[in-house]
Subunit: 198 residues, 2 copies
């Protein structure tokens, strides 16, 4: 089925171009014309794969989230419990210019997701997957005797989620409170409170 | 100077109408026509006070934030330290339908603020004021011997800020994790970790 493979490849190529633009420039500059230029296609050719900007955005977000999950999976390979949680949370923090750029995209995506059912669903799946990973690391910490005995796993999953999300906003809108030092201090304080005193 | 007073009053009246619409319906339905209808003015009359939607939005947000600060100031009157912090944080949580509606507005505002210098400045002032209040309560807790000795005030200001902001997103985009019970558990766990064990 060479035509189908070709179609899938082209589709993936277009999504790749959109992803590049979003990560680099954000949404504002995302025009169909720019996407076509970046992917090396004629303007009309894009529309054969994605009928509207919405469907393209949805595909691009799935791609961005998949890349992020794969990256985190690699980072925590062979690591478990609180150390794995620390590495994961640090990876999501707006620690440098590129990460702050991603946070800006995240803020826009939250706004769009709150208004559109399809984007909301994509966001929901992404967040659910992240929360499952947080839960796994907390359960490992519990199993290994690392976790404070009084910790309630679901409450801590929520607190870690909220911490990560909140820093996306602070990184973009309150940069003076978001130095690498402050971010590390916040993550370390959170992890240390989860750790059982010996 | 009756004309100036009248102008200020009318301006305040329009801002009030906009604030009502934003809190009730969000941004999407915010048209100049609807604002005129809600304020009881002719469409053209609004433009004499606010040349564009942007200037109206900015004024409305200042109003929304001022109301919220005044409400919190009343709530914590005569209360200090960790109990004042607990009351303040709870007030910001998306605990019911109205509060979730406000969180949806907050998500949109973050996105707009990340793209517009004037709205960004309004957001920054609001957040700075909230953070000053968090800092005050933490310092009171320290003074009263309530606070865990190892707590770093600025790190905890950041963590409380991030916690509050993150729950705005979760309340809107992951409602199943945002029951009143979960929200209370998250706030209580945060406050208890700040409290010195006796």
């Amino acid at each position: 089925m060479p035509r189908i493979v070709d179609r899938d490849e082209r589709r993936a190529h277009i999504v790749e171009a959109v992803t590049q633009i979003i990560v680099r420039d954000g949404f504002d500059r995302l025009t169909m014309r720019q996407i076509a230029a970046e992917a090396g296609y004629a303007h009309g050719a894009i529309a054969r794969y994605f009928p509207d900007k919405q469907s393209l955005l949805a595909a691009a977000f799935v791609k961005v989230f998949t890349l992020s999950h794969e990256h985190i999976d690699q980072m925590v390979e062979g690591v478990r419990g609180l150390e794995a949680l620390r590495l994961m949370v640090l990876e999501l923090m707006p620690v440098d210019e590129e990460a702050v750029g991603r946070s800006r995209v995240v803020l826009t995506f939250w706004d769009l997701a709150s208004q559109d059912p399809e984007l909301r669903e994509i966001h929901h799946e992404n967040l659910t997957r992240r929360r499952e990973l947080i839960r796994r690391f907390l359960l490992e910490a519990q199993e290994d005797g690392e976790l404070v005995p009084h910790a309630d796993i679901e409450t801590e999953v929520n607190r870690v989620s909220a911490h990560n999300a909140g820093w996306q906003m602070l990184g973009v809108l309150m940069p003076e409170a978001s130095s690498a030092e402050s971010l590390h201090a916040s993550v370390d304080a959170m992890i240390e409170e989860l750790r059982r005193a010996d």
